[in-house]
C-alpha cells in the first residue's frame, strides 16, 4: 500500500456500478451534482451486462446496458473507480461524510491500453473465466469481456507467473507491474448504496449434485450460453459437449427454503427461467424444456402474458419441487420429485439440468460504517427505514439504498428504485445546501 492520500470532494458517493448504481449516478450527474462511482469489479455494468436477453420484452441486455455504461463512463461529472472498494465511511456532520477508497492495481495503464488482446495471446497461464461463470478459461493477462467498460486489459496477479510475455507483446507499453494499491480519502455529502446481490451457491444443496455432475449448471451459466457473446456459440452441456434435447429447470434453488437460511422468494427466478426456456426453444427447436416449480410468480407488467406465451410455445410446466438429482453413466440426470397434480413421487430423465439460483444479500455494505449503524433487515439486506413512504432511506440520515441491495427485485424495479434513491439524494443535497 502506497499510503498516498489525495483529498478530493464530491457531492455523492455511489457504491456499486451495476445498473442501479449507474442509473443513480447518471440521475445525479444530469442534475448537476458531482459523483464518485465505486465498482469492485474490473468493469461497470454489474450482473446485467452479462445477461443474454431480458424479460418480458426479450431486449438484448447488452443493447440496453452498453449505451448506459458508455453514457456513465463519459459523463464529465461522474468519476469512476473500477477494481476499487470503499473501506470505511464516517459521518462527519450533517451533509458531510468521509470515505476511504482503496483502488487495487490493475497492472495496466487503462488510458494507454487499446484493447488489442496481444497480451492475452502471449500469456501462457490458463484459468477459469469468472465473467463466463467458469464455463471456459481465460488468460492471466486478459480483457474481462468484450463489452467491458473500460475495455482494457488487466493482470490477474494471483495467477500470473511473472514471465513478462505480456509486457513484451504489448505494443503501447501499457503493462506496469510496479502499480501498487492506492488509498484515497474523499469527502462527500451523501451516499447511495447500490451494492447489489449475490447469487445462491448451489453447493449448499449437495443433493442437487452441482459441482459433482457436470451437466448440472446454474441459471447464470445458462445465461452466458445464451448471450450474444456466448462462449460456445451454441448451447451445449459441459459434460461432453453434446447439444442437449431434454432440459430441466429447478426453480427455487436456494429460495423459499428455510433449510438453507433463505425463507424469502427471490422474485426474478420464475421469469428468467421462463425467458431462458423461450430462448432455448428458439435456439434448439427440437429440445424439450421442462420447468419444475412451486408457484409461478409472473406478477409484473407483461409477465403473466410472457408466461402464457411460454406455455403456448410448448414449455412444459410441472408443479413439484425437486428432491434429489442423480447422474447416469451417460451423463444424463434423474430428477426425483413429487408431482403435486397427481400426488405421487416420480422420476424424470433429463440430459441437462439448470438450477434457478436465488438472490442473496451482499452484506459488504454493512461493514462500511463504523460510528453509525447501518441496519440490516431480517434477511441481511439493507433495511429500509421507512419502507412505504421513503423506500430508499436507510437507518443513517443522508445514506440511501438503490436496487437489489435492499431486497430481491427485477431490472425495471431496480431502475425505479434507483430513480427514487436519486430523488431522495437530490432532495437531501438541496435541503442541506
Amino acid at each position: 500500500m502506497s499510503g498516498q492520500q489525495i483529498n478530493s470532494s464530491f457531492d455523492a458517493l455511489v457504491v456499486g456500478g451495476g445498473i442501479a448504481g449507474g442509473e443513480t449516478a447518471l440521475n445525479l450527474a444530469n442534475n448537476g451534482f458531482k459523483v464518485l462511482l465505486i465498482e469492485k469489479e474490473l468493469s461497470i455494468g454489474g450482473k446485467m451486462i452479462l445477461l443474454s436477453k431480458v424479460f418480458p420484452t426479450l431486449d438484448c441486455a447488452a443493447c440496453i446496458t452498453t449505451p448506459k455504461v458508455s453514457e456513465i463512463s463519459r459523463h464529465p461529472d461522474i468519476t469512476i473507480f473500477t477494481s476499487s472498494e470503499v473501506n470505511k465511511i464516517t459521518k462527519t456532520g450533517l451533509n458531510s461524510f468521509e470515505a476511504v477508497v482503496v483502488k487495487k492495481p490493475r497492472y495496466v495503464v487503462v488510458e494507454d491500453c487499446t484493447g488489442c488482446q496481444l497480451c492475452e495471446q502471449a500469456c501462457p497461464v490458463n484459468v477459469k473465466d469468472q465473467y463466463q461463470f467458469d464455463l471456459v478459461g481465460r488468460k492471466a493477462a486478459f480483457i474481462p469481456f468484450s463489452i467491458a467498460s473500460p475495455k482494457a486489459a488487466a493482470i490477474d496477479i494471483e495467477n500470473c507467473v511473472l514471465c513478462g510475455a505480456c509486457e513484451k507483446a504489448c505494443p503501447t507499453n501499457c503493462i506496469d507491474f510496479t502499480q501498487e494499491t492506492e488509498e484515497y480519502l474523499v469527502k462527500i455529502k451523501t451516499v447511495v448504496l447500490a451494492t447489489g446481490f449475490k447469487l445462491f451457491d448451489p453447493l449448499m444443496i449437495p443433493r442437487y449434485g452441482f459441482g459433482l455432475y457436470k451437466n448440472v449448471i446454474t441459471s447464470m451459466q445458462m445465461e452466458r450460453e445464451l448471450a450474444p457473446t456466448r462462449p460456445f456459440n451454441t448451447v451445449l452441456r459441459p459434460g461432453d459437449g453434446k447439444v442437449p434435447d431434454k432440459i430441466a429447470y429447478v426453480l427455487c434453488t436456494g429460495s423459499r427454503d428455510a433449510s438453507v437460511g433463505n425463507p424469502i422468494c427471490s422474485q426474478i427466478c420464475c421469469m428468467y427461467s421462463i425467458k431462458q426456456a423461450q430462448l432455448l426453444m428458439g435456439t434448439l427447436p427440437m429440445a424439450d424444456v421442462t420447468i419444475y416449480y412451486i408457484n409461478i410468480r409472473s406478477f409484473g407488467k407483461g409477465f403473466e402474458e410472457f408466461y402464457q406465451q411460454a406455455k403456448g410455445m410448448g414449455v412444459n410446466f410441472v408443479k413439484g419441487k425437486i428432491g434429489k438429482i442423480t447422474e447416469k453413466e451417460n451423463g444424463n440426470l434423474m430428477l426425483r420429485y413429487e408431482d403435486i397434480n397427481e400426488g405421487i413421487v416420480k422420476e424424470a430423465e433429463h440430459d441437462m439440468v439448470i438450477l434457478s439460483v436465488g438472490v442473496l444479500p451482499n452484506q459488504d455494505a454493512a461493514k462500511l460504517f463504523k460510528a453509525e449503524e447501518l441496519k440490516l433487515d431480517a434477511y441481511k439486506f439493507i433495511s429500509q427505514a421507512d419502507t412505504l413512504e421513503s423506500p430508499s432511506k436507510t437507518s443513517i440520515d443522508g445514506v440511501f439504498v438503490a436496487g437489489t441491495a435492499s431486497g430481491p427485485m427485477d431490472i425495471p424495479d431496480s431502475i425505479l428504485s434507483a430513480g427514487a434513491a436519486s430523488s431522495e439524494a437530490i432532495s437531501y443535497l438541496i435541503r442541506n445546501k
Binding site: 443493447c63 468484450s146 473500460p150 400426488g343 430513480g419
Partner: protein, 570 residues
Amino acid sequence: MKKKIGVYICHCGGNISDYVDVEKVRQAVEDEGGVLLAKTTMFACSDSNQKDMVDDIKNNDLDGIVVASCSPKLHLTTFRNVSERAGLNKYNYVHANIREQASWAHSDDKVGATEKAIQLVKAAIAKDRFAESLEPNVITAQKAVAVIGGGIAGMKAAQALSDMDCPVYIIEREQFVGGRVAQWGALFTTEETGKDLVARLYKDLISRTNVIIFTGAEVITNVGSIGDFKLKVKISPKDEIIEINVGSVLMATGFDSYSPKDGEFGYHQIDNVVTLPEFKQMVDQGDKQLMFKGKQVKNIAYIYCVGSRQEEGENTYCSRYCCTSTIHTAILARKKFAGIYNFHFTRGVRTYGKQEVLYAESSQLGDIYLQSNEETPPIITQAGNKTIIKVNDILTEGREIEVEADLVVLVTGMVPREDNSVGTLFKLPKGRDKFFNEIHMKLRPVETVIDGVTICGTCQGPKNIMETVNSALSAATKSFSYVSKGILETEPIVALVDSGLCEWCNLCSEACPFDAISMGSEGSKSIAVINNSVCKGCGMCTPVCPTDAIDLITYSNNEIESMIDALANG
C-alpha cells in the same frame, strides 16, 4: 451533397450477424457514391466502437455517418452524441435498422435478410447525401409541474419536486387527497394505517409554500406542449376555472378496483359475497366480532384472481398486489376477531420477495390454502341459507373439496380507470393491458411518447405502495429535469411551409394529430403556420397538401425520392 460518408454495420453480437452477412453488406455499400469508408463492428454501441467512430470522423473529416444496427428507438441518441463529440453536427447522421427490419424479421431467410439489409443501408446513404446541419429549437420551460392525482403517488412526487425547489400544483378530482391508500387500515409491512401514512404526507405538503393543492378539481383543457402546458382546471363546487402554466405534467391518476359482473362467483346474487376492498373496510371498522348483515362471520372463503389473469376476458395480467393484500388482511381478521377460519382458493400464491414470509406466517397460523387450475375455477352455490364453495384442489391430487362459508371475499384486482378523460386530454398511449404505457420499461420507465408528460404509480400498471412510491420519485426527478434549467431544446425536425405555394385549404391542419397547425397570414394571404414546439415531425401533413407547400425537415421530397430510388434499384 456529401462526399465523405462513414458507414458502420453492426453485428449486434449475433443478433444481426447470425442472419445477415454483415461483411457482404459492407462490400455492397463501400463503393456507393459519397461513401469514404465502410466498416463492420461487433457492437456499434459499445464504448470502444464509439471511440473508433469519433476518431474516424476526426481523422477523415467525415461529413456524414450511417449506422446500420438496431432500432433507432434504442440508439438514436447514442450515435447523435458520437457525432457531436467528433464535432460533426448530429443531423448528418442517418440510421438504418437492419435488426428489427432485416435479421429478426427474416430469420428464416438469410439470403433475403442480407439483400434487404443492403437496400436499407443504401437508402440511408442516399438520404445522408442530402443531410444538412441543423440546430435544435430552444424554448423556454416554465419551472412548475402539474401533478394530476393526489393519491400516494401524486403526493410523494409533489413532495420530491417541492424539495427540488420546483413549484407544484396537485390536481385531485375528489374532495380529499390520499386516494385509495387513505381508505385502508393497517398496511404490510409497517402496520402503519393508510390513513396515518396519508395524514403524515398531507401535513408535510400543506406546510410547504411551493405546493398548491386543488381538490374537487379536474383538468378540462390542455393547450401547449413540453415546457409550456397551459391547463384549465375546473374546481367544484362553484365550477370556478383556474388557469395554470407548467413545464411538465406528471400523471398519477391511479386505478379502479375490478368490479365483478353480476353473478361472477355469485356477486350480487348470493348475499354474503363481497370484494376485497369491501372486506378490508369491514376488518378495519369491525370490533371484537366480525359481523355481516347481522350474522357473525367465522368461515371466510377468499376467491383469488377475480378480474385478473382472465382466460377469457380482457384482463390477462396479474394484479400483483392482491395475493399479499388478501393474506395480510386475512391475518389481521384472525388476530382481531374471535373464531375466524380462513380458506384461500388460489391459483398459485404470488407473495414475491420478502412478502413470502407473510404467506408462511399465515400457513403457520392455520389458514387453509387450496388451489385450482385455470380451467376449473371454484364454484359457489347457495343451498338454503348456506353458501358452499366447491373446488377440485390440485394440492390434494385434484380431490373435490367443499367449504361452507359465512363470507366469500372476491379478491378483485386493479383495472385501468374507466374514466379516461384526462388520458385523452393529453393523448397518452395505453399498453395491451389498457394502463398508460411508458416508452421503454427499462430505459425510460416513467416517460411517455408525449414529451413533457411523465407517468407513475398504478395508472401505469398494478403496483404495491413501495413500488408506487419508487416510480413516483423517479417521475418527479424526470419531470424536474425538463423544467429545471428554464430552457429546453427540442427537435428541429418539424414541418416547413412554403408560404409562396400555400393556399390555406385547411387540409394539413385537419390531418395534424397534435394540433400544431393553425391559420396565419402573410400580407393579405392566409397561410398555414406551424407551432414548432408542438409539431412532432410525424409527416401527416405533407402528403395531403395539394400544392406541395409543406416539407418535413430531413424528410424533404429530394431525400425521400432518393431513398426510394436506392430501395427500388437494389
